[in-house]
Amino acid sequence: MKRFQSLLQILIAVGIGLFLQVLINNGMINPYYAHVMTNMCIFITAAVSLNLINGICGQFSLGHAGFMAVGGYTAAIITKNTSLFVPAMISGQPRFFLATLIGGIVAAFIGLLVGLPSLRLRGDYLAITTLGFGEIIRILLLNWQFVGGASGYFGLKKYTNFTWAYILAIITIVIIRNFIQSSHGRACISIREDEIAAETMGVPTTRYKVIAFVIAAFFAGTAGSMMGHVNRMVSPASFTFMLSIEILLMVVLGGLGSISGSVGAAIFLTFANEALRRFRAFRMILYSLMMIVIMIFRPKGLLGTKEISLHDINKTMTGILTKFKRPVKKDNPVETSE
């Protein structure tokens, strides 16, 4: 039953993707919206992966843009220099695919380097190391002439299309959701709930924090590659702290620990970004106020840890249908006194 349900979910996801792609190909969705939707999928990837650290594991990372930059630049170097890292005979889309994968792996490796010292400790050090890391990456890129320094690394081919971004988003969602529903994922959640208790239950807390951090860095790296190859350039200015904040807001808005929440918030905010494109400073003021207000009134994020699944939708629908027909039968709570 469970297997069937997850299969069904994947089929539906594939169906939606195909449907949208067909609409794009037919011109029913114009290139501008196709572009926005591609960005949306990239943001979904970024937000869901950040949620793994901040929402599921209860840690606090501010460096997602930094990992996206690492992945983006790595992939850009590979697709632009046919002689580097990947044999020259692999070209075009397959090369882009491999470049994205390598971008993710390099980001994951950097994630390991940053995470290991800071996640060993209890406390808020991760926040500051990741914030510092994001800035340092940006400064190093500004000074690295090989990739164009401050003006950015230009002339990438536009390999990213809606299909790539969509597939990546789906893979990210499925893998992270599966992870959460595994024993390893439960270990991560237990760290969020009570780190000391988790450790006395036999959970190697540092190891799991690092694992979650590295997984998230990997997906951030792949998202960075997608972003670079849709904008046809990577530049230090496209991976600033503000980008980290925007992704963080998606996680907060959707609920810390809720994957479906992050997806919804990423969709909402991508379109909101487009609508507010002309009012940049105003938009960020609005976002920062949103973040403060949500945290004060709903510290677990707007949706909390709740997930919206097909099952819920199904249940609500049948619930609405049956509500009027017969009274809902209530289960007797089992007596548990000794």
Binding site: F179, S182, S183, H184, G185, E193, A198, G202, T336
Partner: protein, 258 residues
């Protein structure tokens, strides 16, 4: 063969010596109490045994294995995996998680499948998760909590939260169980139920139990031996009857003899 043996355990926080010259020896299957006035260092002892604190001096040996030597203690999770489990004075459940997930986390140490099966829900994932689910449900049944398996832990009544915490600790399959004030906040009736439960656990799971408690009825009722701690040192040790009339114990609890 002793299950737990400490030699000259000592911990100092800055200038304050919280516990010193702490020697204790637990034989297999014993039910031992650790009592003492507030601030005597009882919970510190638990934290030393479970690796939350590193001792300044001394050694801990658990089933003939050294848990710490030369000031280097094993990490708490390793100690748990070696077979020592504990509860906390101020209940530390995973509050937002369901009752059954609280227990499932205790089984984490036995999980054999790696990250890849977890990502893909493939290979050994399904079989092992099913096994964990079944074990957890069986376990909750023993503690009469299976009816509430899907409730959030924080929504359980206080007594059941205590019981769940004990169940969760036992699910790690320990040889030694440390209970930190299990009767705190319970009324006399709940306490007597708890006494039953503690004896039941000892017999059913065939393990050794060390418990900290202020409730003298409970300590005197279930413990076979008692250690008394005051100002971080053991001041008395013996059967409940001996402890009850030990002048040093009376002095520690009531102050200077009048």
């Amino acid at each position: 063969m002793p299950v737990l043996e400490t030699t000259n355990l000592c911990i100092r926080f800055g200038g304050l010596t919280a516990v010193s010259d702490f020697n204790i020896c637990l034989e297999d299957g014993e039910l031992v109490g650790l009592i003492g006035p507030n601030g005597a260092g009882k919970t510190t002892v638990f934290n030393l045994l479970t690796g939350v604190y590193e001792p300044t001096e001394g050694a801990i040996s658990f089933c003939n294995e050294a848990l710490c030597s030369a000031g280097k203690a094993l990490q708490p999770y390793r100690i748990t995996m070696k077979g020592m489990a504990r509860t906390f004075q101020n209940i530390r459940l995973f509050k937002e998680l369901s009752v059954i997930d609280n227990v499932k986390i205790a089984y984490h140490q036995n999980v054999k499948y790696g990250l890849l099966p977890a990502f893909l829900h493939a290979g050994p994932y399904a079989a092992e998760e099913k096994e964990i689910e079944k074990k957890a449900i069986d376990f909750l049944e023993i503690f009469n909590l299976h009816g509430k398996k899907d409730e959030q832990a924080k929504n359980l009544p206080y007594g059941e939260q205590r019981r769940l915490e004990i169940a969760r600790a036992l699910a790690t399959n320990p040889k030694l169980l440390l209970l930190d004030e299990p009767a705190a906040g319970m009324n006399p009736q709940e306490t007597s139920q708890l006494m039953e439960l503690i004896r039941f656990i000892r017999d059913k799971f065939k393990l050794t139990i060390l418990l900290i408690e202020h409730d003298m009825a409970l300590v005197m009722g279930v413990c076979e031996r008692i250690y008394v701690l005051d100002y971080g040192k053991i001041i008395a040790h013996g059967s409940p009857a001996e402890i009850r009339c030990d002048p040093k114990v009376i002095e520690a609890y009531l102050g200077e003899a009048v």
